[in-house]
Symmetry: D2
Subunit: 333 residues, 4 copies
Amino acid sequence: MNTYSPVRVGVAGASGYSGVELLRLLSRHPGARIVAAMGSPGAEPRHIPALRRVWDAPVNGLDLDVLAESTDAVFLALPDHAAAEVAPPLVARGKRVFDLSGAFRLRDAGLRKRWYPKTQDSTQPVVYGLTEHNRDLLKDSTLVACAGCYPTAAIMALKPLLTAGLLQTTAPIIIDAKSGVSGAGKTPTERTHFSECHGSLSAYGVFEHRHAVEIEQELGTAVTFVPHLLPIDRGILETIYARLVPGADDAAVGAALQAAYAGSPFVRLTGKDLPEIKHVAHTNFCDIGWRVHEPTRQLVLISCIDNLVKGAAGQAVQNFNVAFGFDEGLGLN
Amino acid sequence: MNTYSPVRVGVAGASGYSGVELLRLLSRHPGARIVAAMGSPGAEPRHIPALRRVWDAPVNGLDLDVLAESTDAVFLALPDHAAAEVAPPLVARGKRVFDLSGAFRLRDAGLRKRWYPKTQDSTQPVVYGLTEHNRDLLKDSTLVACAGCYPTAAIMALKPLLTAGLLQTTAPIIIDAKSGVSGAGKTPTERTHFSECHGSLSAYGVFEHRHAVEIEQELGTAVTFVPHLLPIDRGILETIYARLVPGADDAAVGAALQAAYAGSPFVRLTGKDLPEIKHVAHTNFCDIGWRVHEPTRQLVLISCIDNLVKGAAGQAVQNFNVAFGFDEGLGLN
Amino acid sequence: MNTYSPVRVGVAGASGYSGVELLRLLSRHPGARIVAAMGSPGAEPRHIPALRRVWDAPVNGLDLDVLAESTDAVFLALPDHAAAEVAPPLVARGKRVFDLSGAFRLRDAGLRKRWYPKTQDSTQPVVYGLTEHNRDLLKDSTLVACAGCYPTAAIMALKPLLTAGLLQTTAPIIIDAKSGVSGAGKTPTERTHFSECHGSLSAYGVFEHRHAVEIEQELGTAVTFVPHLLPIDRGILETIYARLVPGADDAAVGAALQAAYAGSPFVRLTGKDLPEIKHVAHTNFCDIGWRVHEPTRQLVLISCIDNLVKGAAGQAVQNFNVAFGFDEGLGLN
Amino acid sequence: MNTYSPVRVGVAGASGYSGVELLRLLSRHPGARIVAAMGSPGAEPRHIPALRRVWDAPVNGLDLDVLAESTDAVFLALPDHAAAEVAPPLVARGKRVFDLSGAFRLRDAGLRKRWYPKTQDSTQPVVYGLTEHNRDLLKDSTLVACAGCYPTAAIMALKPLLTAGLLQTTAPIIIDAKSGVSGAGKTPTERTHFSECHGSLSAYGVFEHRHAVEIEQELGTAVTFVPHLLPIDRGILETIYARLVPGADDAAVGAALQAAYAGSPFVRLTGKDLPEIKHVAHTNFCDIGWRVHEPTRQLVLISCIDNLVKGAAGQAVQNFNVAFGFDEGLGLN
């Protein structure tokens, strides 16, 4: 593919939070041309007020045929079960699909059935879309299961350290995760009511969150994962606790992370200056900082992303860039 | 009635925001004993987590007979149409009713039909429950239509000045009102989704809000009323613009307000030190401050309340206190 | 000037909120190259964590000579008195200066002395930098006094209507303005303490805010201006009340605004769908909506901007674009 | 002491957040009469706007003699070093002192010197003021070092389980703590600026927070403690990770907590329904919930308090009640 010859892209699920973010990013992307923006099937055409002058066309009801006929690539920001239905026929018609849902992330059929019961089995070859760790596979991908928001922050911080053998896996790895409310999606619920969240904080899904399973799949080790709902709109901060193996220290942690992300434009290693959500909001960056208590070799990692960008739309575009041979950061800066 | 002989009270609509506030206040009220806490008809029994150890009984489904048989007085924190149905039979059975909805506030049948189309006509004698301005009527009331949240803040500031003849009524009186999201009720909607409100501000209902009609009824003059949805949980601040008549000045404004509220424990006149929502949150106070631009006689009034207390549950209890001969502030301090 | 030949720019006051926003915008601006980023005189070199990988050089102490020697244009995001000192010598040395402070905005010497007492008189020719209304003057400008944040939102909404003779100027024009806390600057004060703002709202500077004077200068008519501190980081919403002259109506308002902003890429007229801060945050847009109560010809305008972008850094860049012959939106989309 | 004979109390440091909360509570306390409200030495008399009609007297400059002469008991809400200076002479003059600072909490002289270097050594007998765990000692106390906010939430959850031998102490006990900004005090800093906190989250003091030392002193075991600054005004939620010993399970955890807090009116055990900050805000409750992953015996505890009430002023009053023989909950409901 010639550089900068625009790829015709479609967005399904364009009126949710990730979908709007996709439209925002893709409308300015020099290598993409949005030819279809669709919501759920049967949805009335709807304009996105925040995108006036950025993306002025209406978001129409989902029409799989129009989508298949007009596009080269499709971004799916649909609910899991809808994505599970829509992705295979699109791939069968030669479209490259970037799915932001969880429908295709779990490789183990049993786990997938348990945690995504509404999705059917699939024999599609799937690439797990955490860009920094799967660039080679992305180049030839047809169906990309973009990484979940919580897993993105967790795996980015932990995987290089596990690969380098720096972490004790007998001791529990604990991920205390905090997410902005947009991570819960746009459908209004008691949980996402402003008055329930404002001035508050709560944990949920303890030992019962499917993102824990996704993290364990990618890391190959068990984790304790506790998510919390933060009274902010967007952003995730994860505080991760692990023990270093004897002989490992602060410098070894830094070296492993630097080696892993030397060529990664969207990873910022902040060392002892711990990341804050404010610094990554509205960007595709993943900021990672850490501290080590040398006497006990206790490691604390802090990993931050914007859940709608690096945790969803931004990473999907980053995957798209790698898949189509564009510069990885095209349209994301 | 003997002082401090507990009145048996019921709360209908007890699981909404105003209802929970009523339970919180009444459970500690020395002159009341909650004998029934009910939600909507058919609702499953539900405990209120925030009220554990304060009010531990479940909120049951609405049962009009139980309510009528067990209580002396009933607080209604129901939707308008439900309150319109429930109040008359309760009054007919000798209960004193304190209604927090808008069902009975408008006296003009035509306006009532237009702005509360789901409520039926009623021939109940109704007392408008803005305590400070209707103490005498409250004493003999059977059905009290407690004042709306926006109207409370507006009328408290404006009525004494209009009564004293200090305001030009040819010039428009403008009420720029800002409310926390709990004022929109507990039902989740796109409007009340955390991510839609956080970091934002919006106006709504311009020239089309029924609280404007309620304000005009009580003031006897037209107003321009524009409400805004604030990214906070609770509290209302209204910035009110009016012109003083020739000869009137800052001192006259202060004198009229002080005269009106000399015996009112919940009105705090702050003068030039303008009120802030933070100072009234979680209290039954109405704080009123003002500034006058002498050359143009432009008056700016700031009026602040907690919409769930002085704007709803607190004022209902204050009305209850006056109606039953208790000290006006009993259980509210 | 050749298109896209990068202009060498400097930013003084680069570590405040507007300064950081300037660095963010200019670092990606195809027509500018940042050659100097400076804070206050004597400040220690400081990195901006949020800008890692975007702008990695340190912000150094202010050095006027370095600034003058290395740049073609200078953006000043300094306190008023510092800007008043620094701008004239820079202009004298041939630099084009874009000042974001209030130091040069008021043309009347008496008013300037009263409202900006620490600034000295100046004989510099100054262009008032509200881009949409001064494009011609900007082309030949040497010193641009970029419009204040509150004035930008107010003047954008009102000026076309006053010019078209649609507003009664005998009736008071009322501007009820609400701003995010970043508008108060980065210096920590009791007023900007998180716990003082969160969950609250307050009015301040009633009849005593210098932005009222700036608005009156540009509109040529008196206004009543009341600003409020909103519990959000960034964004301004102004609710503006005025009376239409006899014969004017909703359509006339729309026509006047459309005519005024036909060629303005950053003005979005939303008509009856009123603007919200969320829709303009992090953009250079000014969104304007309105409603008219025909019986009384009462007009309500809602005008929204991001105070750090269209109200500060974005507008400064927009002015820079016009001044240097670039496309007005370059680097701002 | 006779029940309800009012104790004459003084509050030093009355204009900070904890001090204002003390005035709010004590002004309504049937067993106390505030006879002195003082700020720092030399402070100008200052009224507390939020407390008008609740506590109308001014907060004066600190005067140790007046304080000693007029009171029976003194609450200190001063900075650590000031409390360290003021408490001993007050005790020497027969006053019972309730200190909310950290000055007297650490019993080990070395640790105290390291973490509170500005405080002097003291030979005062000190009672650690975590009410539920020290009721007997409080009865005869002269100087009470009220527990810190973070330690309160942590110790309340962990101590009964450690005492019951349910927790592995070889595995690390991890306390991931999140606090509202009022916990950082009222002095404006860059850290507490609204725009730095809003929409963000950050960790701080990793391995370097003196509250970790206080927790370890009271628990007798090492912990990993990471505090975070939440974008809310008040409230603490701590997510605590520990391993159960073989044989221990969910029921054992519940039994140990119930046994420990059977007679404690301010502890609410929520079991699997995890606590939320919203439910404890503005109350003296400590809510504790938990989940156990049986296969790994991983325990997750959630402990919530209002940092200004149970974490400061409320607990000080609770300690006062026990010390003076009042009902433990007097004035706190």
